[in-house]
Amino acid sequence: MSGLSVGMFLFLVSVGMSLIFGVTRIVNLAHGSFYMVGAYLMVTLVEVLPDRPWAFWLALVAAPLGVAVLGGAIEVGLLRLIYHRDPLMQLILTFGLILVISTLVLLVWGPDNKSVSRPDALAGSVLIFGQRFPSYYLLVLGLAPVVAVGLWLIFYRTRWGMLIRAATVDREMLGALGVNVAALYTQVFAFGSWLAGLGGALAAPTVAVALGMDGDVLTTAFVVVVIGGLGSFAGSFISALLVGLLQSFGILVFPAVSIVLLFAIMAVVLIVRPWGLLGRPEE
């Protein structure tokens, strides 16, 4: 159960990362940092908002939006300058962002772990098949299909989604057809950041909000994205669930090797299908 909800957070982070890569071809190493900032913003918002039942939900909406604005600003101010540079430059830049963001988080929120209490309505637990589960996990699990269907509708039923899918294959052509691809990149980057921020904000009440959470989620999300196929939304979804489950069962069965197992699976996938489960081979 908690494995499934961990899978959900991973899904949000990895689908955003995959989306950003699919369109901009940037492997955004700072994506885990956006997740972390989402969680910290959640901490602050829940603190400063009045102690009312709606405060938690408002924070849950506002925190990811804050991360989206941050992501959009980073795209306009920094990434835009390096799209045409070689991938190494891009990795160095986004790696630099990890350091900058974690230093800023340290300065703003301090070194101590934070926590967010669950909203009163979901503070308890429920009995399912004779087992007790925290009700908050049910919320997270209930959100999973909503987010997945929502994303599917956006990608396949809106014009914006069509533009995104077209940009993943031929941005030059899209521009020549009158589409402002630079603006589309900013929107996509902000949207991907929003997804990471939502993951962080949702995760905040289930984990210790701490400085290291960016690296942890980044490693796993990276594996998820690679297994699913960079740029493939459905691939990320399946692979996030897989990895989430694997991690939780792995930890139960043989805790020491669960991370090794993860990389082993990634290696196997890369050998058999170098472009990932549902990705497309590069031409």
Binding site: A166, D170, E172, M173, A176, V179, V181
Partner: protein, 236 residues
């Protein structure tokens, strides 16, 4: 004032100098053909105009307005439609979606804007393929889709880069009739081609390119009457 005026442009791919002091004009309603052998510079000329490979020197004006240096999407929005040589449909998008991403969402455009219905009237086969992925279409259907897609942006002038290349003769004939209808509707066309027979009825004027330079210009009738020009610049 000419609709499109290219004057004395020099275009490079990084360090290699491709177009040399190239000039051409296109009047509204005309069909202008750019002819030349492989590597003559037809594609580079078209890419220079649409801003994908902007010239380093010289000027390109649309109704007197300089467009050199504008990003391609701005140039497209000013009314220059581009149909690339290698088709480049979005293979993962359906026919409907390919048209939808190119739909004009800026300004008003012409009084009678292109709609999906209107492009389907011109290319009926696309209506049947509406829900099919672009990548699964035949070569001829893909060529029609790229033209239809560009029309959705309501261009004033349509640049087509070797539209007949690699198509079966019967498909080429259908395509030629469709371009005739576009011409009859008053649309200005620039056709980069190697296939003289494809453009001989369609074109009003001809420019022949060789090694990135204009070697000949004249009316279609004059060009067709001149065997020597054809021998010198076009025969293989």
């Amino acid at each position: 004032m000419a609709l499109l005026e290219v004057s004395h442009i020099d275009t490079y791919y990084v360090d290699s100098h491709i177009l040399f002091d190239l000039s051409l004009t296109v009047e509204a309603g005309e069909v202008v053909c750019l002819l030349g052998r492989n590597g003559a510079g037809k594609t580079t000329t078209v890419r220079s105009i649409v801003g994908l490979t902007p010239p380093r020197d010289g000027a390109i004006t649309l109704r007197g307005r300089d467009i050199v240096g504008l990003p391609p999407f701005r140039i497209a929005r000013l009314g220059i439609g581009f149909v690339p040589e290698d088709r480049r449909v979005f293979p993962n998008l359906t026919v409907h979606e390919n048209l939808e991403v190119a739909r004009r969402t800026w300004g008003n455009g012409s009084a009678s804007p292109w709609t999906e219905e209107r492009v389907f009237d011109l290319f009926p086969i696309l209506r049947e393929r509406r829900r099919q992925a672009g990548g699964t279409l035949s070569g001829g259907e893909q060529q029609m889709l790229t033209i239809a897609r560009t029309l959705m942006g309501n261009p004033e002038i349509l640049l087509l880069d070797e539209p007949s290349e690699g198509l079966a003769p019967i498909v080429v004939e259908t395509l030629r009739e469709q371009l005739e209808r576009l011409k009859a509707s008053g649309l200005t066309l620039v056709l980069a081609e190697q296939n003289v027979r494809f453009v001989s009825d369609l074109g009003d004027r001809v420019y022949i390119l060789e090694k990135g330079m204009v070697r000949y210009q004249g009316s279609m009738a004059r060009f067709l009457a001149d065997d020597e020009v054809r021998q010198t610049y076009l025969a293989v």
